[in-house]
């Protein structure tokens, strides 16, 4: 019985769906996330990833941006809508530490004060390969939680 559960978990882990939250990013990480998720050269679909339009379908969340004051509540609300188990990846240095925007009156970085972050992908912006690396790390974590 245990092996069956294990097998099912293994199969399920091959279907990580990705959702992207832009928490006030400068576009850089955001465009790179879109590039990673959508274009043939990086084709994350071969890893079973699918880009979804609704937070309710998501398994892996890519967060970009330094969490601006105006977007904070929306981000927290959307994050809560994502069903468990989920894994969160902070893409770029803004969500990790605030980057160049740290100490602005309108910025609430770092993100991990409000949302549990599992994987960090530093870079400004990180290249798509680095984002894939982060997603691969996230899938490993996610498999354990599934």
């Amino acid at each position: 019985m245990k092996t069956l559960t294990e097998t099912m978990r293994g199969l399920a882990a091959r279907s990580p769906w990705i959702y992207r939250i832009n928490a006030g990013s400068c576009n850089g990480c955001d465009v790179e996330c879109a590039t990673t998720a959508c274009i043939p050269r990086y084709d994350v679909e071969r890893l079973g990833c699918q880009y979804c339009g609704s937070p309710r379908h998501a398994d892996i969340v890519l967060i970009t941006g330094p969490l601006t004051a105006r977007i904070k509540d929306d981000v927290l609300r959307v994050y809560a809508e994502i069903p468990d188990p989920k894994v969160t990846v902070a893409v770029g240095i803004c969500p990790i530490s605030g980057g160049v925007f740290r100490e602005s009156y309108a910025v609430h970085a770092p993100m991990d004060q409000y949302i549990p972050i599992d994987v960090n992908v530093p870079g400004c912006p990180p290249r798509p390969q680095a984002i894939i690396e982060g997603v691969a790390l996230a899938i490993d974590i996610w498999r354990e939680r599934l």
Partner: protein
């Protein structure tokens, strides 16, 4: 047919960036649009007065990663004006190259997103793959795919040698061929034409009234391009054609962008051909900047970008203010969205190539 209000955004899959509209609809038709801004407001104007003049070169680059070359360029130009620094000629050409490389990538991104919004995923991927070649160029020449870090006060931070020029020309030739095919597709494809012709029209008069700039203005027949009207860098020595179209619809804006991407390739070639020898920066050390104020303008991919910088006695500027092209084009959106269909909202919004992170700073 019922009336109701739908929220578009702030976190919406069709919008690259968080923005928020409250759209009152009557059935499938838009009755009224209220724009709520500020989701990407990071207080950068405040931060710019807390960082020193040199840190600001990098800070301004992070205002937006799609126009990330134009910001430090205009900022550096303003500082150079204040300090009376003369940029070496080679650096002026290298600045133009960096500008045009970014323009190709930025325009292709916007045109690709248009295909994505129309639901034409194959075309989206096809155009993004072409853009990816330009990303490779950026990564190979500058070391980063988005924030290329080409500019510094007094010149540029990168140089190209014969080997890199060879690589650049090889990539340009490939992209040029691919673009010819893409332009033909956007001209003739039924799905694209059916969803973009006659949609989101901005008349010439409205475009003038709103003070629109960049491809949005040029697609409505306004012949204004900073590279021609107020040349900077090497543009006074280059031949820059200005592309305009009369109709002012979504399709025209896409076609103007595609034409400009093709022109940009030609401009890079002109720069490489005429590239003079010499230093790439006025000084290798950090120059001292006296007190003063200056205005500088440049043509970002989305249109005219203007910087005002005022420096006092301290190493930190007293005031840095900039206005990005999207800031002016936003207002025109309200006109374009009048009587639009719900299905077209995202397409019309995308057609001004909105740069929220630029606009809200």
């Amino acid at each position: 047919m019922s009336n109701f209000t739908i929220p578009v955004g702030p976190l919406h899959v069709a919008l690259e960036e968080p923005m928020y509209f409250r759209v009152d609809v009557h059935g499938e038709t838009v009755a009224n649009v209220d724009i709520h801004a500020g989701h990407v407001h990071r207080g950068i104007e405040y931060l710019a007065t807390k960082r020193n003049i040199f840190q600001n070169v990098v800070l301004t680059e992070r205002i937006c990663s799609l126009c990330s070359n134009s910001h430090p360029q205009a900022y550096s130009m303003a500082i150079e004006k204040i300090a009376g620094i003369v940029v070496p000629e080679r650096a002026e050409y290298l600045r133009a190259i960096a500008d045009e490389v970014k323009r190709v990538a930025s325009h292709l991104f916007n045109v690709a997103i248009l295909a994505h919004l129309v639901g034409f995923e194959s075309l989206f991927m096809h155009v993004m793959e072409i853009r990816e070649r330009m990303q490779d160029v950026k990564e190979s020449l500058f070391g980063n795919r988005m924030d290329i870090g080409a500019n510094t006060i007094g010149g540029v931070r990168y140089d190209i040698d014969a080997e890199r020029i060879g690589y650049l020309e090889q990539q340009l030739a490939w992209i040029e061929n691919a673009l010819i095919e893409v332009v033909a597709l956007y001209r003739s494809n039924g799905s694209i034409l059916g969803r973009t012709r006659g949609i989101g029209v901005l008349s010439h008069a409205d475009a003038l009234e709103c003070g629109t700039v960049g491809p949005v203005a040029r697609a409505s027949g306004i012949r204004y391009d900073v590279r021609v009207k107020a040349p900077y860098a090497a543009y006074d020595r280059l031949e820059v054609p200005v592309h305009t179209l009369p109709d002012g619809d979504v399709w025209s804006r896409a076609m103007v962008r595609l034409a400009e991407a093709q022109t940009a390739i030609d401009l890079i070639r002109q720069c490489v051909r005429d590239l003079p020898d010499g230093p790439t920066t006025a000084t290798t050390e950090r120059p001292s900047i006296p007190a003063g104020e200056a205005i500088a303008k440049c043509e970002a991919p989305r249109g005219e970008l203007i910087y005002y910088v005022r420096v006092g006695e301290s190493p930190k500027p007293e005031r840095v203010k900039w206005r990005v092209p999207s800031f002016m084009n936003w207002d025109a959106l309200r006109i374009m969205l009048r009587q639009a269909k719900i299905a077209d909202i995202a397409i019309i919004v995308n057609s001004i190539d909105p740069c929220i992170s630029c606009t809200e700073r």
